[in-house]
Amino acid sequence: MKINGVVLKWFAPVLLVGLATPALAQNEPRVVIGDPEFKPLPIAITTPTGSAMGKRIAAVVSANLKGTGLFRIIDPAAFIQKAAAASVRPRFPDWKVIGAEALVTGRIRTNPNGEIRLEYRLWNVAGGSQMVGRALEGPAKLWRRLAHKMSDGIYKRLTGEGGYFDTRIVYIAESGPVTRRIKRLAIMDQDGANHRFLTDGRHLVLTPRFSPNTQEITYLAYVNSRPRVYIYNLDSGRREAVGSFPGMTFAPRFSPDGNKIVMSIERAGNSEIYTMDLRTRVTSRLTNNPSIDTSPSYSPDGKRITFNSDRSGRQKIYVMNADGSGVVRISNGVGRYATPVWSPRGDRIAFTKMEGGAFKIGIMDPDGDNEKILTNGFLAEGPTWAPNGRVLMFFKQGRGGQAQIYTIDITGRNEQRAKTPASGSDPAWSPLLKN
């Protein structure tokens, strides 16, 4: 598949020595997310040998793993064995003595076709065994993606959860005074690299969301004073309105198969939830209620939709079947609930809650049980899921302050500001990028 027109080949796991026996596997370093006894796992990340690029790759991998809050990256100044020697054969006592439980080694070669080949291995220091051995190949200019794929491989092996580093964020970059705020569609890698603006700020733009194939973005734009849902194609740069309706269209999201947009369509002041089939252009109304019905989000299997409605008199969260039948209210607490977003794993719904003058970001089960508030702020809104369903991104604004984007683990740990060049809001996390 194409990425900016360049074909990437990823090699399946190859290699090699010392397959872990079940007995050894019990001694393997492992991070259990959500474990109350949790301590960050000490890991040594050596610089892949064979290319000057190795240093940059090691820096990206270290930053990725450190950013999760799940790992303690051991200072390379403490390393006893040289990276080059370790990449041939680690001397495990040298790594044990500096406290490393896991070790990463790597080598880089340039293939005859000019692509680079990054081989990396993850080692169990205590067991003296290899946990991962993998080669990744791709154009040198996509070296950051190789580093993110490598990070994903390490994270997955040590946590048992899917990775989320080879992903992008689309969001709204904000500038200017509050009363004449300039908002631009912007995209960046999950770690803030490769930042670029997709729109110039002439039109107000809001609420971007990725398509499942990660190459399209649906969002709201005010063009000629008409707020409408658009789709932006990242390959072509083309922008297209989704249908033509007399009223406002807003709150768009893709269906999990990418074939539909679910959104609100406003008519005579009343907002209802519709789907539009992107191939046939046929629209179907899913709600029919004089209340506000908005912020729809599909379950990952496409069978259900969670949405926001004030039909009870206050904003609450509901779930319905994908055809609009079987509406059930799931939020049970006091306060106003909004922006439900179904986890890519299907097991949780993230939301915004307004209560007692504060905004809160939380998660609950799809039946409303096990509500858990993760963070709060003067204004905090718009959670979006990492593809592994373990991390949320959202934005937060202090009283009179600027909106900024943050990440937080669904255990409520490790709240961190995302790296955006300036003020940002309405983040949306992409699925894992396709090869």
């Binding site: 009363t179 609100s264 009343n270 907002s271």
Partner: protein, 171 residues
């Protein structure tokens, strides 16, 4: 029934005429202060929109205000809209874009929907007063375009608004 009630309000407002304070700028939260009492007899016939809604002349506002998370029109808001209606009658070629706005205390998408409700409430009253719906268009900005910065009760109350933007008719 509702329509009859609206007409009654209109007649009441008109009957008070020149010597009352009803025609003056009505919403205490607004920035366009009311100094025009007694000058409101038939301003619509000749006045341009900017004259009509200026602070210093007739004292009508170009905006109406709403309670938190509500879209019902207050009595004050209806008086302001009745003045717009008279202006529209005096300027039959003019159209009005009605903007609906919210304060910052709400989620973005819900506030877009709430702004649409507010703009529509204004539009519906104008049509009830006799303006053709074809001359009125609504747009919701949700919380995207506050008229004043700040996170206080006062700024919130000024930002929860419906604003009339006229096109044509000497605006």
């Amino acid at each position: 029934m509702k329509y009859v009630k609206l007409i009654a309000v209109l007649v009441f407002a008109a009957g008070l005429g020149a010597c009352s304070s009803v025609d003056k700028k009505t919403d205490g939260a607004g920035s366009k202060g009311g100094s025009g009492a007694g000058n409101g007899s038939r301003p619509a016939a000749t006045a341009s929109w900017s004259d009509y809604t200026s602070k210093t002349k007739n004292g009508y506002s170009d905006r109406v205000f709403f309670s938190y998370d509500r879209h019902e029109l207050s009595a004050e808001a209806r008086q302001t809209i009745e003045a717009w209606s008279r202006w529209l009658r005096a300027h039959p070629d003019a159209t009005i874009l009605v903007e609906g706005h919210t304060d910052e205390r709400g989620t973005r998408e819900y506030n877009l929907a709430l702004g649409a409700r507010r703009a529509t409430a204004v539009k519906n009253y104008l049509t009830a007063l006799g303006t053709s719906g074809r001359r009125l268009r609504t747009i919701s900005y949700g919380k995207e375009r506050p008229s004043v910065a700040g996170s206080t009760e006062r700024s919130w109350s000024e930002n929860r608004r419906g604003v009339a933007r006229p096109r044509g008719g000497g605006s």
